[in-house]
């Protein structure tokens, strides 16, 4: 079980991905599933960095991992109440030349992971995703 406590700014995305990679590698999680989990981790972290705290000052995110035969990552922030898993309706049908891009990141998270959950606990947003080893 690993924990990363980090400031919620986009510049820290690389550090978050290094943490997730190390947790997966150290627990021998199947390598062909790493990229899906890294996509989910980046999309959630960037979402928190963009929306949780407002422009300044950025708050913290605590990321907790539990990697066994299932890789579970939990993201906890103290920003405003926001469930990013609601209302994820990306435009996937209009012609490419007219395609809008919004909502894709969270659509990736919901599609690539086996489980996603959000809850508000006091002043905390707690978002969890999990992927099983195949």
């Amino acid at each position: 079980m690993g924990v990363l406590n980090i400031k919620a700014v986009k510049e820290n995305t690389g550090v978050v991905l290094d943490f997730v990679t190390a947790e997966l590698e150290n627990n021998n999680f199947p390598a062909d599933l790493h990229s899906d989990i890294l996509v989910a981790a980046e999309e959630i972290f960037v979402n928190i960095a963009s929306y949780a705290y407002g422009p300044e000052p950025a708050g913290e995110v605590i990321i907790t991992s539990n990697v066994t035969d299932e890789a579970t990552f939990t993201f906890e922030d103290r920003g405003k109440t926001f469930n990013p898993l609601e209302n994820v309706n990306p435009d996937l049908s209009s012609p490419l030349a007219e395609r809008k891009i919004g909502g894709l990141g969270l659509h990736f998270v919901k599609s690539l992971m086996d489980k996603t959950e959000y809850r508000r606990d006091g002043d905390k947003n707690i978002l969890m995703f999990a992927k099983a080893a195949k």
Binding site: L17, S35, L38, V39, V46, L92, A97, G105, S111
Partner: protein, 116 residues
Amino acid sequence: MEELTIHKNIDEDAWKNAGSNFFYKVQYFELVGRLNTTTAKDFEKEMNQALRVSEYITLNLSRVTLLTSVGIRIILKTYKQCHVRNGKFLLEDPSQPVKNVLGLSALEKMLGEWAC
């Protein structure tokens, strides 16, 4: 921390005849590494520079290890720029992680054949 290397492969650049002796120059790029939040700015800059040269662009994605929504946004933006200028934009030989994300984005039309 993994980064993104962008190889501009001049050898693969080619003047192509679109018919009726209309020739266009295809710019060929190979991306290696992660196309994500940490590398998006450099990639966007490279695509903007490419669009100043011509609106015919091929991206080889066989060695991309991570593609996230910010990369998709720039790919789609570049596609649209090519499209409005009657150019052509192609994604070639995607790695498995790239295929997963392109499929979820319904962007397969950019693969394998000229997209616009």
